[in-house]
Structure formats: structure tokens, C-alpha cells
């Protein structure tokens, strides 16, 4: 191994931390990301963990990974392949070595490469490097466990706690490799373990030990230099999609001057929204952890009836359970936002893995003609904006809105330029005016076709709503055939009217060309990167990435019509492509689909497009 340390300037680098699900890889990755953000890199992260809390130690099933992509330029994805892999045990190596760039750096804890753990990981020999064909790679075998124990022998912690901090040794090594300061992580220890000085000391010691080990032995070659990114001026923070979603609703409640109510039932990967909102009693948020998914949405709908800004949060299986109540919200014409953080399905499927296969469920998964507004966020940080907009549309149009995110953007994080709330529009609540005479519950605003909201406690506006078909004005029960048809049409038209209040569809690239790549939701980063790179290579392609799905932006047909070919890329079997075909049947839609519970890679998208265009 070379002893010379080269410093290489790089535009961007991908690092993947992998270990047992108890090894603290999520924390390690998060701390590394935070430090990179603080020193000015743009970045994107992707936690990839098993659904078991502690799967059997040392097995492939129990491997938890955290990938971070950071760079000097704008970073849109967590990266396809890693420049550096940290593997805390053989299983982590086995599960992740295929995700390392050819010739990349792999750091392993050699202490964990015992016969027992090699066998558990499924290696047939005691030479995993040869077995995985990693000979051309820069493999660094460091005695991480031994050195962790050594550095903490005088601290007075029990052996179990000592060994638990070996992830900080690995982190220290990676910090040295990328010339990152330790101080942000040290500050984290001081805050997190405020009342445990021993633990602070131990963590700092191990982190420094890892850093110095890497420096002293100089065996990590080469080291990388990533300059701060050239990004817009402003104050930034890191944010993940679920927190951004929760905050978007709090912001909407402030703008609407309504109380925020969230009725929900915990479900992976959506629970963090409920958790964050429960913390926000300081903003008067009322969270109701219901007995099941159905009660989650029903309490929210009851709160909406009583005049709250009501939301419920879930994932695919939960949306299935909520569908009857979504229909009631359609019929009652009350505002309600339903967040579906999509995961792999059907049934329990792949709880912790991303997929986009709930689109048709969101659009159509209810009895009767039951239209709702459907939207999708496309990056971790724009979950804030789309949660805000979902709430705004829901309240102003008196209509249920389903907001789709997915496990990838919900758990992934990125730096976010903190907006000022003054940049956000007001939300005008269509509450009945107290002096209104001859008010009728289902009389409509002529532009939006929305009804007005008369909230219990308002004198003189006592009225009844419910799930039975409503008379078109009075809202009393009506079985009249003509009235029913009229109401079915009105509810659909009301949703379509939202078109007039959303932005037109934009195209990334030229407005006409050989190929329009179409995507929606959480695949934005990968599609954008692939299209940008191919455009640089001279391909005449553009990207139309959708956030508004029902209704589609007004100019959708026009956007689609200007390209020779349309390729719809989705993490499902082609649901959006079919939806577009239904709406604009004259175009031909090519599909590129992946259902592996994993995000796209930029490379596979590029290869597919190249093949398509070069024949």
C-alpha cells in the first residue's frame, strides 16, 4: 500500500456507511452530512435500512446503510455508486460492495472479519476481497474495534458501551479522509449527552482516535478535497422530507389562522410526521394518535368539521384503510389533507423501501365517483412547499387533497435555504360570513365551485352534512336521479377548477426536441441529473417533472405534444404513463419502470435513454 498521500480536488463524492442495524450507521451518516453541510457543500442523503429493528447480528438482512452525496456543485441525488464505503462487518461488505465505484475505497473493521461473521454473511472463504472480486479496489483494513477499546480503556465505561462507539472511530477516519473539522460533531456530543460527561469524553476520544489513526498511518490514499458549493446566498439548514412536511402544515395553519389537527396512526415510513407534529404543542398543534388508520382520518375529518386545518398521515396500506373516509370527505366537501408516504407494496410489502405504486390508489382507490386533488412532492425540502400548497388548496377549495411523498424523500435530507414566511401567500378560509342571509350549505363559489364552511358554534348556521347524496343547494338528503348526476359532475368539476390556481407545467431544457423525459414525485433528483448530463453530452432531450397530478397543469397536453418521443420514468409498473395516456390519448408513451424498492440510479436512466435515442 502506498504511503504517499495525494490530495485530489473533486466536484463531488459519494460515501456509504454500512453496518449492523445496531451499529449506529444512520447517526454516523447524519453527523457526516451535517458537517459537510456546515462547511458549505451541497448534499443529498439516502438512509437504507431494514424493517426489523434488530435483525440477527452479522447477517445480510440486518445491514443498515446511509449514503451521502456531497459536492461543490448542486447535488440532486444521493449518488448511484460510492467512492468510499465504510463496512463495519462482513455482511455490510457483502451487501454493499456492488455499490462501490470500480477502484473505490473500502474501509473495513478487520476485527469483525472472523470466521463466524464471514460465514454468517455468506462468504465461502476467509478472503472476502478476492471472493467479491475487489482486488483492484483500495481496501483499508483497520482494526477499528481493537483501537476503539484501546483508546477508551481509561475512561471507565463498560465494555458494551465502549464497543458501541466504534462507529465514531470510523467517522473520525472518514473526516480525515475528506479534511473535515471535528468540531460540529463534538458540539453534537456536548448537546446530546449534556448530563453524561463521561459519554461526551468517550465519544470525542474515539472520534479523535479515528482521525489521528488515519493521519498517522497515512494509509488512506488519496484524500479528497471538496470545495464549498456555489449555492445561492442565504441561511441554510438540513431538512428531511417528513420534517419538511410537518413544518409545511404548521406554516399553512399560521397563514390560514386555523388550528392544526393531525389524526394519525404510526406507520413506516410516515411516523416521523406525526412525531414532529406531536412535539409542536408549542404551535398549538393538536395531534391525536388514533387506535387505527380509520380513526386517524375520521378524527381529522371530525376536526375539519369543527373548523381545524386537518391532516392525516400514512403510507400505502393505511391509505387503503382510510379510503371510505376519504369518500366521506369528498361527499361532505370538507378540507382535509391526506399524506401518503409511499413504500413498496402490495400489502405490507417493503415497509422501509421507496416506491411510487400508490398513484392509482390515490387517484381512484375509493367506491363511487370520488375525485380528490392529488399532488406529489419531489425533493426532501420541497415537501414543505407542497404540504403548504396541499393545505392551501384543500381549505380554499373545500376539497380533500392527497399529498404523495415516498420513503426516499421522506427519510432523505438535503440543505434547504430557509424561506421567510413573508414569501408565502395567505390562505383565505371560506368561512361563512356571520351576517349572510339565506345561506345554503351547498351553494357554491362561482369560480372555484367550492361551498362555504359553517363551523359548529356559529349561531344561525346550524346544518347537517353527511355521506348520503346531498341536494345541490340545501345539502339535505336527496335520492333524486338528476340531482345525483349533477352532484357527481360538480364534485369532479370542482377538482378540475383547481387547474386555474396552480402553476403551468415547466420543462427543464428546451421546449421541444427528440425526447421528453417525464417523471413525478420523488424521482426528480435522479431524472434531473440524468437529463442534465445527457444534455451536456449533446442529446436533444428535456425533463417535465410533475408535482400536480390531479388536476394536471393546464398546459400539460401542449408540453407533451412538442417532442418526438415521450418516456415516462416511474418506480412502479407505469401508472402515471397510463394516466397520461388516458388524458392525452393521441401521444405514444414509452415507459421506463423499476420496482425493486430502490430509487433509480442516474446511470441506468442515462443508459436506457442513450439506447433509445441511439437505437
Amino acid at each position: 500500500m502506498s504511503k504517499k498521500t495525494d490530495v485530489i480536488e473533486r466536484e463531488d463524492v459519494v460515501v456509504r456507511f454500512a453496518g449492523d442495524s445496531g451499529d449506529g450507521m444512520q447517526l454516523t451518516g447524519t453527523l457526516f452530512s451535517d458537517t459537510s453541510a456546515f462547511i458549505g457543500n451541497d448534499l443529498s442523503t439516502f438512509p437504507d435500512y431494514p424493517s426489523e429493528i434488530r435483525a440477527p447480528q452479522g447477517t445480510i438482512g440486518g445491514v443498515s446503510g446511509f449514503q451521502v452525496h456531497f459536492g461543490h456543485k448542486q447535488v440532486n441525488t444521493p449518488g448511484d455508486y460510492a467512492d468510499v464505503l465504510v463496512a463495519m462487518n462482513p455482511a455490510a461488505l457483502k451487501a454493499n460492495s456492488k455499490w462501490v465505484k470500480t477502484g473505490g475505497t473500502i474501509i473495513v473493521d478487520e476485527d469483525s472479519f472472523t470466521d463466524k461473521f464471514l460465514k454468517k454473511a455468506g462468504y465461502e472463504t476467509n478472503d472476502p476481497i478476492t471472493e467479491d472480486k475487489l482486488d483492484g479496489y483500495n481496501v483499508i483494513k483497520a482494526p477499528i474495534s481493537t483501537l476503539t477499546k484501546e483508546s477508551l480503556k481509561d475512561v471507565g465505561l463498560d465494555p458494551k458501551s465502549i464497543l458501541r462507539s466504534k462507529n465514531m472511530f470510523a467517522l473520525g477516519m472518514v473526516y480525515w479522509l475528506f479534511s473535515r473539522p471535528l468540531k460540529y460533531t463534538e458540539q453534537f456530543f456536548e448537546k446530546k449527552f449534556k448530563n453524561k460527561p463521561k459519554v461526551i469524553e468517550a465519544n470525542k476520544k474515539v472520534l479523535e482516535a479515528g482521525y489521528h489513526y488515519a493521519e498517522t498511518v497515512e494509509l488512506l490514499t488519496p484524500t479528497y478535497q471538496i470545495s464549498p458549493a456555489e449555492i445561492e446566498k442565504g441561511t441554510y439548514r438540513n431538512i428531511d422530507g417528513n420534517k419538511a412536511t410537518a413544518w409545511g402544515f404548521i406554516a399553512a395553519a399560521e397563514k390560514a389562522n386555523l388550528k392544526l389537527f393531525c389524526g394519525s396512526y404510526p406507520i413506516t415510513p410516515a411516523s416521523e410526521i406525526l412525531q414532529e407534529l406531536s412535539t409542536r404543542r408549542d404551535f398549538g398543534v393538536k395531534t391525536f394518535q388514533a387506535e387505527d388508520e380509520i380513526a386517524g382520518i375520521c378524527t381529522a375529518l371530525g376536526a375539519s368539521f369543527a373548523g381545524s386545518l386537518a391532516v392525516t398521515t400514512t403510507s400505502g396500506p393505511g391509505l387503503a384503510l382510510k379510503s371510505e373516509a376519504v369518500g366521506l370527505a369528498v361527499m361532505a366537501e370538507l378540507p382535509l389533507v391526506i399524506v401518503d408516504v409511499q413504500r413498496g407494496g402490495p400489502s405490507t410489502g417493503l415497509p422501509t423501501k421507496p416506491e411510487q405504486s400508490d398513484l392509482l390508489q390515490a387517484l381512484y382507490g375509493r367506491n363511487g365517483e370520488s375525485p380528490v386533488v392529488v399532488m406529489a412532492a419531489s425533493t426532501p425540502s420541497n415537501c414543505f412547499k407542497y404540504a403548504f400548497k396541499a393545505a392551501k388548496i384543500s381549505v380554499e377549495h373545500m376539497v380533500p387533497v392527497i399529498l404523495l411523498t415516498d420513503g426516499f424523500i421522506a427519510n432523505g435530507s438535503q440543505p434547504w435555504k430557509i424561506p421567510s414566511m413573508s414569501e408565502y401567500p395567505d390562505i383565505k378560509v371560506p368561512i361563512v360570513s356571520k351576517d349572510e342571509k339565506n345561506w345554503m350549505p351547498y351553494a357554491r363559489d362561482p369560480q372555484k365551485l367550492s361551498r362555504t364552511w359553517a363551523i359548529p358554534g356559529t349561531p344561525g348556521f346550524e346544518h347537517r352534512i353527511g355521506g348520503l347524496e346531498k341536494d345541490e343547494l340545501k345539502g339535505s338528503v336527496s335520492h333524486d336521479p338528476q340531482n345525483h348526476e349533477k352532484m357527481v359532475n360538480l364534485r369532479e368539476e370542482k377538482v378540475q377548477k383547481v387547474k386555474n390556481y396552480i402553476p403551468e407545467q415547466t420543462v427543464d431544457g428546451d421546449e421541444e426536441g427528440d425526447l421528453l423525459v417525464v417523471g413525478w414525485g420523488g424521482t426528480f433528483g435522479h431524472l434531473k441529473t440524468a437529463v442534465d448530463e445527457l444534455r451536456k453530452d449533446g442529446f436533444n432531450i428535456s425533463l417535465a417533472h410533475f408535482n400536480y397530478i390531479k388536476p394536471l397543469p393546464k398546459n400539460t397536453g401542449e408540453v407533451l405534444s412538442k417532442f418526438k418521443q415521450i418516456l415516462v420514468c416511474e418506480l412502479n409498473k407505469g401508472q402515471f404513463a397510463d394516466y397520461l395516456r388516458m388524458n392525452f390519448p393521441k401521444n405514444e408513451y414509452l415507459k421506463y419502470n423499476k420496482v425493486q424498492g430502490q430509487p433509480f440510479t442516474t446511470i441506468e436512466i442515462k443508459e436506457h435513454i442513450k439506447k433509445l435515442l441511439e437505437g
Partner: protein, 343 residues
Amino acid sequence: MAENKNNTDNKLTAKDFKSDQEVRWCPGCGDHAIMAAIQKSLPEMGHPKENFTFISGIGCSSRFPYYMDTYGFHSIHGRAAAIASGTKTSNPELSVWQVTGDGDSLAIGGNHFIHTVRRNIDINIVIFNNEIYGLTKGQYSPTSKLGAKTKTSPYGTIENPFHPGELVIGSQGKFFARSVDNNIKLNQEIFLEAEKHKGTSVVEILQNCVIYNDKTHAVIADKKYKDERQIVLRHGEKMIFGSERNKGIVLDGLKLKVVEIGKDGYTEDDILVHDATEPNPGVHQMLANMRYPEYPVAVGVIRNVESGTYERKMEEQIKQVQEESEYKCVDDLLNSGSTWEVK
């Protein structure tokens, strides 16, 4: 639309709560009498009319909100307890009433029922218990007596029924009352108590379905027998019943026992005094479970224990957290924690 009436100045009457909708329950249905009792008792509760909110699920009883000139929400099968929970938690000032049936609340809505009671949200749940599915035309319900022959149990049911009182107490319920549909006076009394009680109040009304389960409660509800087969419980009063007021309930070992005053050495002093406010549910459970013919069936307020309510605790928690919070607005939140400047 009702005319805009200043409710605080004018005394409300039962008529103020009647909506313009034609009441479509079958002639002779017990629901008519229950509605009359509710409409008569609402003006006595001291709330402005606009604060009353009636929420229901699906079933004959669940048509109730349409006939009331109050805020109302006729929702979906089994879910009224959850919707009412959201409404009350959102605005604790409202007087929230859930009107439901035995199928709606104890079959499809069983889960919401027990959890609502457990949380002790201050809503009033009135269960119209006719031991049958009426609106779907005559299938057995979770309260149908064992062996009941119905359209879906032509050879008799083979499952044990739920007893609402037992379920309420088992769910840590703090208020349970029972009555019979046609006893309008007692029902008014009970509804007033239910509204006064802070927490989930469950009122079971033994209701007659004249079409699909006629006279299911007649063995105790019929005027001819009711004094002998029902005991009206009132807090602080002795548990005496019978057309000649000569029978009473005593505690015999660990069980309740019916005795005749002046017989077998029992005097009036031996008869139990009803204490609805006793937190220990032991006696309440036994009273709620008394069945004819071994016992008279208990009607009136059986259990009425004060305890903190969910929605008030939430308000208090919010107040407390807000007092200690450093955030004044969303901008403060967005800029909290670790941030950095890009210059």
C-alpha cells in the same frame, strides 16, 4: 336554514331543535320517543343552540342528526366515535353527541368505542340498543341474545352477546346509564346527567324495533311488569323496587341478592344505597350485569365518576408547552437548531 335567533336571550324549547326534515322512522319505532326526550332535555342544558353537535354513523338510529336543528354530521358505518372525538378535541366548547346503534357502535365501530371511552373524551354516546340490524332488514347484532333467530341466524346465534355496560366499565368508563325508550321522563333526567358529566358518557337505551325484533325488551319494558322487573337507580338512594316498593338489593358475600323487605330478617337498613360516584367499579359492574329473571334490570345512572378529560388535558399541555416555548412564529421554527450562512 333556520332563522338567526339570539339563543342566549330567549329560552330555547324542544321545538327549536326540530329540523324541517320529515321523520322517517317506522311508526311505533322506539326512536321517536328517544328523540322526544333528547329534544326536551337540550334546552335545560344551558348551552347556546349553536354549540350542540350531533354526530352519527350508519343505521336507523344514525339518521337522528337529520331530524335535529343543530349542527350535525351523518357519517359512515362505525366511525362516529372517531369523528366525534376529532370534533370535540378540536373545539372543547361544543356539546358533542354521538347517536349510534348496537351494530354501529359495538360491531363495526367496536374499536373506536372502547378507545373513546378509555380516553375519556367529553362526548355523550347514546346507544339505541334494539339487538338487531334494522336498516339492513333483520340480521343479528353483537347484542342479540344467544340463540336469537334472525335472517342470518335461522337456527339461532351461537355467539355470546356484548353487554354495553360491561364493555364500558371494562374500558375504564366513567359514566354509564341505561334506560328504556318509552320512559321519556327518566331519559330526560339521564341525558341531563350525561351532559353534566365531564368525560365520555355512555347511555344505553333499550329500544324496540317494531319490524325486525318486536318486543325484544318487552319482558322487562312492558308496563305490566316494569316495576317488578326494572330497578331505577338514583345516586344516594336505596336500591328499592317493586310495585309495592318492598324489594331491594343487598350484598350477599361477593354477590348482589334480591330480598324482600321484612322477610328472612331483612329490613330497609340492609338495602344498599346507590353510590354512582364510587371510583371502584366492582358494584357498578354487578349492577350493570343484573339480568332478568334472577334480578331486576338496572336503569338510571349506574356509574358517574369524575376524572380528567382528554381534550382538556390536551389544552393544558398546549398551554404549558407554549409558556415555556421560545418560538413565536413559524419563522422562528424554521431558523431553529443548526443553521449556516452561505455568503
